[in-house]
Every structure is written in C-alpha cells, then in structure tokens.
C-alpha cells in the first residue's frame, strides 16, 4: 500500500445521507473476480444515462470537478453490503480520501485496508467543504490529522494504530505474520483447555 502523508486536491461533493454500496457499485461489477479497474463503474446508476452516455446532471460529470481526489459526503456513508468493490471503485476513480459526516463501520475498515483515507468531520464542516468553489484546493494532513480549507483548519480523529499503518503504507498480513508465535500460543492454549 502507498504511504499517505498530505493530500492536496480540489473536492467534489455528493451530499446525500445513507449512500449505500449498491449505489457506489452496480451488481454486474460485483461479479468480477479481480481487484482492478472499477473506476468506470463508480456511482454508475447516477453517472450514466440509460443509453450509456454520461449524465450531465451528475456532479462527477461536471468538468469543473475533474481531477478532484477528495469526495465530500453526508451521514452513514458506505451503508449496506460489505462489498469492498465499492472502495476499489472510489480508489480506481482517483479518490484518495473521503470526508463524511460519518461512515458505516464495515465500510470504514474497507477504506483503511485499501489506503483510501476516511475522514469524519462535523456536519457544518462537511457542508462548508461541499460549498467550496470547484477550483479551491483542500489539504488533508494525515500525520497532523488536519483538514485545511478556506483559511481554516479542522482536526479529525483516527485511531493511532490505523493511522500508523496508513502513514507507513504497511501491508496488513505481513505485519500480522510477525505475530505468528502469539497465534500459535493462543491455539495451543485452546487445545489444552
């Protein structure tokens, strides 16, 4: 995983609450057997018209927001199925971070495990971020746990353990393999009991 330090980018906002993983990725994409190339299917029901052309009404298709690497959204983001494909789609589309009013618990961990930084901010701050001019950059500083925008800096919380993994870009399984002895001991103790 790529280490995360500072992310500076313009933002794009989809402010609905309860955006579920069914909305983030279509069923057909969930049937794939690979981990790559989900960018084109992100928000597909809203991004495309029935005939497959881009829906000009949907904010992700607005050229002013092209290249935005930070998504701003509402409450309970990533609600519903545990499909990690939803995070792969965000990542492959180019989002490095999601700033939400809050996240679904399973989805939050899927973000952490794929190096898409989940940032929870207060409702007012999310609403403010959503109304920024399209060309105004925002900076997320993970080591400092801050989001800087429009001349202000907001602090966000993230567990130190997850933060360390993201900052260093640690491979989860490799790290856990160093606990091999502890796992063996645990299994041994179980057998004895």
């Amino acid at each position: 995983m790529k280490p995360i330090g500072q992310i500076t980018s313009t933002v794009v906002a989809v402010m609905d609450d309860n955006i579920d993983t069914d909305q983030l990725v279509p069923k057909q994409a969930i049937k794939d057997t690979t981990r790559k190339n989900y960018g084109d299917v992100l928000f597909s029901n809203r991004r495309y018209l029935e005939d497959g052309r881009l829906n000009p009404e949907f904010v992700l298709n607005d050229f002013k927001h092209e290249g935005a690497q930070i998504l701003i959204t509402g409450h309970n983001f990533g609600y519903g199925s545990s499909w990690e494909h939803a995070v792969w789609a965000l990542r492959d589309y180019g989002f490095q971070a999601v700033i939400a009013k809050n996240f679904n618990d399973i989805f939050y961990m899927n973000c952490i495990n794929n190096g898409v930084l989940p940032v929870k901010l207060a409702d007012e701050q999310c609403d403010q971020l959503a109304s920024l001019p399209a060309d105004q950059p925002v900076t997320i500083d993970l080591p400092q746990q801050t989001v800087t925008f429009a001349g202000q800096t907001a602090q966000f919380e993230i567990n130190a353990f997850w933060k360390d993994r993201l900052v260093k870009g640690i491979d989860d399984i490799e790290a856990t393999e160093t606990f091999d002895n502890a796992i063996k001991k645990f299994e041994q103790r179980r057998v004895e009991e």
Partner: protein, 457 residues
C-alpha cells in the same frame, strides 16, 4: 468486574493488543461465498501464502446461483465466479458445499443448520448479514475482501472493540406480529445508523420466547440499523438447536457447561440501553428506499422532511399519506438469509393454503438451503405453494439482491421477506417493500398489503 456477554466473548479471542486499541482477534470460523472471496484467494496466490486453518473455513455458493435450474448457470460472469470458488477451495483444501449438495445454501442459513455456528465463537464472512450468527451467543460480523484474505492467511483479524448497546425487548407479541416486525419496528423508530460503533445484544422476555430461527431474523438485520454485531444470550433453546447437528461439538455436555457462562452480568455494563415494548407493535411495511423508511401497516406514510425522503418517494412511486394497503403489489418474494428458513416457509404456506395469489402477481418461493427445501417438500409445503400459484425454486440468495436471473422488473412493487429495499436492490427500478412472511403471503393473495391482525386466525 462485571461484563457484557460481548466483552466476555471478545476477551476470549484476543491474541495480541491492548485494551482500547485495535486488537488481534482469533477467528473460529470463516464462511465463504463466491462474490467476496475471489480477490482474497488471488492475493494469497500472488504472495505465496497458504490458508492458515482450512478446517475453520467453509465455502458455499449462494449469491449467483440460478434458482430455476441451479446446475445451468447461463450468465458467463456468474459462471466464472462460481467456477473460481470451486477451483480455489480445491486448491487450498477448503470444505465446499457445491450446488446439488445437501449442505449448499445461503451461508447464513447453512452455518447454523450444519452446527458450524456455535455459541462462544467468533465468526466472519465477507457479507454484512454475518450478524445472523450472533443469535447463538457468538460474535459474528461482516468483513471486506481484504479482511477475508487476512483471516484466510492468519486466522485472525485486527478489530477495534465497539461500544455495547443492550436492546431490551419485552412484552407478548400481538397476534399477527412476528420477529421480523421487531427488527423492522426498531430500525423504523431508531433509524438506519443508530447502531454505528456499537455491538448490540437483544434480551428480555420476548427474545427468550423466540425460536432460534426467529432470533436469527432479528440478529440478521442488525446491520440495517448500522451495527456490525447483533447477539443473543445462548439458552436451552440454543443448546437444543445445536445438539445433534453435523458439526456440533462431540461432547455437548462440556460445551453447554461453557456456553452457560456466556451472559451479560448486569444491564449497567452496556454503554447504552434501549427499551422496546412489543405489546403494541403492529406489522411493519417499508415504504421507502432504506429499511428505516417503514411504518406500521395501519399508519400513513410520512410527510417529506428532507431530500432523502423526496428521492425515495420519487423512486418508489408512492405519496405521503398513503398506506401500505394502497401499494399495488405485483410481485412477492419469499426467501433470503432473513426469512428463508423452514419456519418462515411454514408461516407463508399456512396463509396460502387453499388460496391463490391475485391475478397479475408473480410469487417466488426460494428456500434458504437445500436442507430447508428437502424438509419443506417432506411436509408438502412445495405443493401448497404451487397450488397457490407460486414458483417453487432451488436454494440461493435469489431476488434478494438481483445478482442472478431472479429479478423484480422495473417499476414493479414487490412484497418481500428480505432485508434491504435500496434503489435497484432487487433489480433495476424494482420497488421493494420489506415485511414478515405472513404479511407478504397475504399481500400476494390480495394484491396489496392487509392488516393481518384483523384477518389472521
């Protein structure tokens, strides 16, 4: 120090890590299905890793399988996903219930049925409805594919211990009101995110009186209220259910002695407690596009309060002030990990017996597993459904999620025993209305929902 059941279960499984930090938890059982596992196996292969404990892993096919002819997967992409799981389980030496096997079915139906699911365990699956298994007094939770891979490789997972919430459910369920209405009613009252950050335990005299299958329906939908975990203290009902099942412990007496220690010492141990009185609970029907958008059958749909409501009404084609009786039902679906078990089919068959579904209504009955199907056929339920005009199908997830050929057509209102009424969940443009199996059966007969408290005997 007194503790909740969840704390006790958690503590038993900590391999490493300090309190208050993410901890490395040992996983007793991982269930796999074809949708969320291919990339995990691919990751293992790429990194030359093995499956740590194949004996703690069990795989089956459910999401993609066609239910009309389960052996004939016409969709090439579905077929590839199915064949991939078949090949992966063979390569890594994992038990696999293939189509046609007596053990195949929806993961959350077969786990308990086979006795794989037991009190005291930690159980994961790449599926948000894994909370179902908490009904046995275990920690069951849904995980993403990266975590599936992590558990396959190490039999452990890093998790932050959630806060705990007790949901005290009490009172006698009124006639015509079911376990499904408890969980739908709770989410309708508390919202779709009230459980975020919490592990929920359901308790109280109402819960104690429920069968295991009813308890599973409640724990199953915990995730729709935002919580990853939903559990119930194991008791005699639990022990009687587990005893004699294929993978149940050999020494049941010793196991039960241990399971009897799994309970919450005091209500005060929960971080939060919610009270839910069922004595006045009515059958619940969802009107909108998430499970919280639901009302008692005799209540009008709410006024539009925000953009979410507006969008939901727009999609579902209904108006504030209407009632469930006014929804024109053209499709009825019986099945899923929420209500696809034998007792659910019995309730529906009991309603449909001697009746016919309304003209213009299509009804699918999809048993949750091969074993449910066999048992139902032994009781002659299949004939009752067929005589009533329903399609009797092969086991799988079917029209719960529109990923296989079973889909609800666009614009059609479906009375459904499932768990999610999201936009497009049951098919592009499909309009889902969640309810109990009895409510769905009456809706199929009448072409609209009815207040079954007034008609059911």
């Amino acid at each position: 120090m007194t503790q909740t059941m969840f704390d006790k279960l958690w503590q038993r499984h900590v391999v490493a890590g300090d309190d208050g930090e993410p901890q490395l938890l040992y996983i007793d059982l991982q269930l796999l299905h074809e949708v969320t596992s291919p990339q995990a196996f691919e990751g293992l292969r790429e990194n030359h890793r093995k499956v740590h404990s194949p004996e703690r892993t069990f795989a089956t096919l459910d999401h993609n399988v066609p239910t009309e002819d389960i052996f004939n997967v016409k969709d090439a992409i579905s077929r590839k996903q199915i064949e991939t799981l078949r090949a992966n389980t063979k390569e890594f030496g994992i038990r696999f219930a293939d189509v046609g096997s007596d053990e195949q079915g929806i993961v959350h139906v077969i786990g308990p049925e086979l006795g794989l699911t037991q009190p005291g365990m930690t159980i994961v699956c790449g599926d948000s409805h894994t909370a179902t298994h908490g009904a046995f007094g275990s920690i069951g939770f849904g995980i993403g594919t990266s975590e599936v891979e992590h558990v396959l490789a190490t039999q452990t997972i890093w998790q932050t211990k959630p806060k705990t919430m007790g949901v005290h459910v009490h009172g006698k369920l009124p006639h015509g009101v079911y376990a499904k209405d408890i969980i739908l009613g709770l989410i309708a009252r508390e919202g779709v995110a009230f459980g975020t950050g919490y592990a929920i335990e359901y308790y109280g005299d109402t819960i104690e009186a429920l069968s295991m299958e009813e308890r599973m329906s409640i724990c199953n939908m915990t995730i729709e209220g935002g919580a990853k975990y939903g559990s119930i203290r194991p008791d005699q009902t639990t022990f009687d259910y587990v005893r004699g099942r294929k993978y149940a412990p050999k020494n049941m007496d010793a196991a039960i002695a241990d399971w009897q220690t799994l309970y919450t010492d005091s209500e005060d141990d929960f971080d939060r407690v919610i009270d839910f009185d069922v004595t006045t609970l009515a059958p619940i029907v969802s009107w909108g596009t998430n499970p919280g958008m639901a009302v008692p059958v005799d209540h009008p749909f709410p006024e539009i309060q925000n953009d979410d409501d507006k969008k939901a009404y727009n999609y579902i084609g209904l108006k504030p002030g209407q009632t469930a009786e006014q929804i024109p039902i053209e499709f009825a679906f019986f099945g899923s990990c929420t209500n696809g078990r034998l007792s659910d089919l019995k309730v529906a068959a009991n309603v449909l017996k001697g009746h016919h579904i309304a003209p213009g209504v299509t009804a699918l009955v999809v048993p949750g597993s091969r074993s449910v199907k066999n048992a139902a056929e032994k009781l002659g339920l299949d004939q009752i459904f067929k005589d009533a005009g329903c399609d009797w199908r092969e086991p799988g997830c079917s029209a719960c999620l529109g990923m296989n050929p079973d889909q609800v057509p666009a614009g059609v209102h479906c009375a459904s025993t499932t768990n999610r009424n999201f936009e497009g969940r049951q098919g592009v443009g499909a309009r889902t209305h969640l309810a109990s199996p009895a409510m769905v059966a009456y809706a199929a007969i009448n072409g609209h929902f009815v207040d079954i408290r007034k008609v059911a005997d």
